[in-house]
């Protein structure tokens, strides 16, 4: 048998479950790769992750070292993106700030969908009274203005990066709950669930082994599309001084630093904004591409 790996992956008659799974993944990847913009988004994000990991080695200077004699310097060979009001190198701060951005986005993107998945599937699976109560709570949170609610949360808990993450997660979960519930309702009465039940599977096992895996792909798409929004909200909180505290090089807070000097020293505020824009654009492109691949309405699963 002279099989290449590609043939093995694209086989119409997979021999093992693993081969079938890998094949489905590979076909998804082929579709994704065909979308140039989505690939661009992916490349930018991979670069960003690389920058975040290698930040101490990549950054030309420390993000905290002040040099008051060399403050508010325009971009030059020595400081590629200029210096801020305390003479700190803006490029170095941006590079280190990528860690904070990834931390916030990553944590919120882990917490919010899990809360939503849990509430949504339990509501959809249990039905009746529990469904009514859980969905009513979800609707109440959906009806709130998100940013204002996050502001109020942070104000009550005290401004810090952890509380900003918590506030963003607390305001971001309801759409996931809605989505997970809708998915659960469509498969609740499916034959394979009945079959598993007849084999003696309890509700918890049904939920975790059979329902959750089927909700994941649509949740992933939604998360990817929401990432940009999370970045923008987090930057907004940082800008208002409610996220990462100085001297942390958080991008939103850096814009806020540069605000006072905007008319004469534009680069201080402009550079972090460009960074935020590039990253959230990359997430949007990636999300669009993922939606094409994982769209639950497509042939996919």
């Amino acid at each position: 048998m002279n099989q290449t790996r590609r043939d093995w992956l694209l086989s119409d008659a997979p021999q093992t479950r693993r081969q079938a799974r890998m094949g489905a993944l590979y076909q998804g990847w082929l579709t994704f790769r065909g979308n140039k913009l989505a690939m661009l988004g992916l490349i930018v994000l991979v670069l960003l992750i690389g920058i975040a990991i290698l930040a101490p080695w990549l950054a030309p200077q420390s993000p905290f070292t002040q040099d008051l004699a060399g403050r508010l310097q325009p971009p030059s060979a020595e400081h590629w993106l200029g210096t801020d009001h305390l003479g700190r190198d803006i490029l170095s701060r941006l590079i280190h700030g990528s860690r904070i951005t990834l931390f916030i986005v990553g944590t919120v993107a882990l917490i919010a969908p899990v809360i939503g998945l849990f509430i949504g599937t339990v509501a959809g699976f249990a039905g009746g009274w529990a469904d009514q109560v859980l969905m009513r709570i979800t609707d109440i949170f959906l009806a709130f203005p998100k940013l204002i609610l996050a502001l109020a949360f942070v104000a009550a808990l005290g401004p810090s990066i952890g509380n900003a993450v918590l506030a963003l997660a607390l305001t971001a979960w309801p759409p996931y709950a809605r989505l997970a519930r809708a998915e659960t309702l469509t498969i609740r009465h499916a034959d394979f669930i009945a079959a598993a039940r007849l084999q003696g599977a309890g509700p918890l096992r049904l939920l975790i082994r059979h329902i959750w895996p089927l909700c994941i792909s649509s949740l992933i798409v939604r998360v990817a599309l929401d990432m940009a929004g999370i970045i923008l909200s987090a930057a907004g909180l940082g800008f208002l001084g409610l996220g990462a505290q100085p001297p942390m090089p958080e991008w939103g807070a850096m814009i806020s630093d540069g605000r006072t000097y905007i008319l004469d020293f534009w680069w201080v505020a402009a550079m972090p904004g460009i960074a935020i824009f590039i990253v959230s654009m990359a997430f949007n492109l990636l999300g669009d591409g993922l939606r094409d691949v994982l769209d639950p309405k497509g042939s996919g699963q």
Binding site: K146, L147, I148, A235, R259, L263, M281, F283
Partner: protein, 359 residues
């Protein structure tokens, strides 16, 4: 920012002999809407109440000051009802809010209600103009993008929306100030009015553009317009990104329907097919989208107001936040939340009233 998946569908059209049943169903669905409105408001107040309870700031100290004796402190503690069970406190809070009593703001020394009454019109003026700009450009853009799918305008609309979804609004505002105020000098700077016009126009509606027209003061109108146009365009851009995307997808759905093919086969011009047939059918869902977008601008204006020193509700809440003025924060949150809920309700009602299928 807003969620399109409201799960709103037209009620099934009733057969003639089931009118009474349909009416009953209608009444029940209205009652259901009102009930969920009440529950949502209760939830909103419960959350703000809890936030007010967990805050690390001692409300008693704010009233009596640092140098109060223990006896004074205890007296104030009891007078504020803080020794009562939480449930009792919550019911008392409900009663206060329902009578419009949000307490006194610590930073301005005024009643929070009066403060909000003063600053809210500024936010409404900004959000309204922003929505108008968003609708005026976004709807035609979405319609044309759908009609010429894949064409140049469709691509432009796509990029416009993508950039809109990816741009930090406060940053764009700063850059706008830099370019149009700092460098070009085309617009008025931060704030709502220039210094010379400040307080010159008698307040009637609180909307300066309208008030200056009522007073017939053209100079004041021009001044106010030059101040509002940049922040309003900014908000308008974000609402445009959302509205044009939704318009496009609604239009695509209609244009693939069979009645459109019929209309085309009849020999109607493309223009008539698009605007008289397809566009008519998207007007109702579009109203929902516009209402949601207006709501999100009321909220989204928080950051914009900070950038442009716009004396509106967003700036009021943020300033209160930073000075630990919890009464003002919670009052503002309740007001914005209520507007949000009411806008949802309004779009729901409009949907029912305008959609002939739900009669």
């Amino acid at each position: 920012m807003t969620d399109a998946d409201t799960g709103r569908g037209a009620a099934p059209s009733p057969a003639p002999d089931h009118r009474a049943a349909a009416r009953r169903r209608h009444a029940r669905s209205i009652a259901g809407t009102l009930l969920s409105l009440a529950l949502t408001m209760l939830g909103l107040l419960l959350v703000t109440f809890i936030i007010g309870r967990v805050m690390p700031i001692d409300p008693v100290l704010k009233v009596v000051g640092d140098r109060a004796t223990q006896a004074q402190y205890d007296a104030a503690y009891q007078a504020m009802g803080l020794d009562r069970p939480l449930v009792v406190q919550f019911i008392r809070y409900l009663g206060e809010v329902l009578t419009g009593d949000f307490g006194r703001s610590i930073s301005t020394g005024q009643l929070v209600v009066d403060d909000i009454r003063r600053v809210f019109p500024a936010t409404v003026e900004l959000a309204t103009l922003g929505t108008l700009i968003g609708v005026a450009i976004g709807v035609p853009l979405g319609v044309i993008a759908a009609a010429r799918r894949g064409g140049a305008i469709d691509q432009v609309a796509r990029v416009v929306a993508l950039v809109g979804y990816s741009m930090p609004i406060f940053w764009l505002g700063l850059m706008g100030l830099l370019v149009f105020y700092g460098i070009l000098g085309w617009v008025g700077g931060p704030g709502r009015q220039g210094i010379i016009y400040d307080g010159m126009v008698p307040t009637v509606t609180g909307l300066i553009l309208v008030d200056s027209l009522i007073a017939g003061d053209w100079g004041a109108f021009r001044d106010a317009f030059s101040h509002i146009i940049l922040p309003a365009s900014l908000l308008g851009y974000f609402s445009l990104a959302y509205i044009s995307r939704m318009t496009r997808s609604f239009m695509l759905e209609q244009l693939s329907a069979e009645y459109i093919t019929t209309a085309r086969v009849k020999g109607l011009s493309e223009r008539a097919v698009i605007w008289r047939h397809a566009f008519r059918n998207i007007q109702i869902p579009l109203i929902t989208v516009i209402a949601l977008s207006f709501g999100s601008l009321l909220e989204g204006s928080v950051l914009t107001e900070i950038i442009f020193s716009w004396p509106g509700l967003g700036q009021y809440i943020t300033k209160a936040l930073l000075s630990g003025d919890m009464n003002a924060v919670l009052g503002g949150t309740v007001v914005v939340g209520t507007c949000f809920v009411l806008l949802n309700l309004l779009s729901d009602i409009l949907y029912r009233v305008l959609d002939p299928r739900s009669k």
